[in-house]
């Protein structure tokens, strides 16, 4: 299991090198800074040092307890990220595809609403609005009950 909370960019390829030996299925998810309005130049991600790594690790351990994974990785960045840059990624490895897909979706649902990160849009004139949490993201957690 690899958990990294870092400001630096990462390479998915480097993460996957040697990842999940013995697995039949590897799923990755990458979250990318998206400009929906044409007015955004970056995202600023604030986080809660100390709690962040702890809560991401707890989420990853829940996924490992629930599915039979041969490997699991989470990288989540913070700080200022330009449009088009990768914010984070998860990777899951399992014998069969259903396990790898479900575990990756579970990780994403929990990271989205339970890991202490807050996004703010940065426009051409500086900091703009904080991104609001969506009811749909909170609801997505219910499917895992």
């Amino acid at each position: 299991m690899l958990i990294r909370i870092q400001p630096a960019p990462f390479e998915l390829a480097a993460l996957l090198d040697g990842f999940g030996a013995g697995a039949g299925a590897i799923v990755t998810f990458s979250g990318i800074v998206r400009d929906d309005t044409g007015q955004m130049v970056a995202l600023e991600l604030e986080h809660y040092p100390g709690m962040t790594e702890k809560s991401v690790t707890a989420i990853a351990e829940q996924a490992q307890a629930r599915w039979n994974l041969t490997d699991l990785a989470v990288i989540h960045r913070y700080g200022r990220l330009s449009v088009g840059e990768a914010i984070m990624c998860v990777a899951t490895a399992a014998r069969h595809r259903a396990e790898a897909f479900e575990a990756a979706e579970y990780l994403m649902d929990y990271l989205k609403s339970r890991a202490p990160f807050w996004k703010r849009e940065i426009g051409p004139d500086g900091p703009g609005d904080w991104v609001e949490a969506k009811a749909a993201d909170e609801d997505a957690l219910n499917r895992w009950d």
Partner: protein, 83 residues
């Protein structure tokens, strides 16, 4: 009891600082919130609407009835937007 109180995102902005040490006799998170809101406008703007934010005690998410008996660090922040 002395508590480290931390603020994040728009709560930090409204209060105007990221953390402070607070001397309190609050038994629960809810008591602490009342005490903070009573400090004035900035705190009221940040913390009076309890449905708009979350609380962690010693880096674990808790609800407002959570007891502060052995707490050292309390954090207030908006719903998370990670991922």
């Amino acid at each position: 009891m002395k508590l480290d109180v931390l603020y994040f995102a728009w709560i930090r902005e409204r209060i105007g600082e990221p953390r402070e040490e607070i001397e309190t006799g609050a038994e629960t998170v809810r008591d602490l919130v009342s005490q903070l809101v009573a400090r004035g406008e900035r705190y009221e703007a940040a913390l009076s609407e309890v449905k708009s934010y979350r609380v962690a005690v010693d880096q674990e998410l808790v609800d407002f009835d959570h007891r502060l008996d052995h707490a050292r660090e309390v954090a207030f922040f908006p719903p998370m937007t990670g991922g």
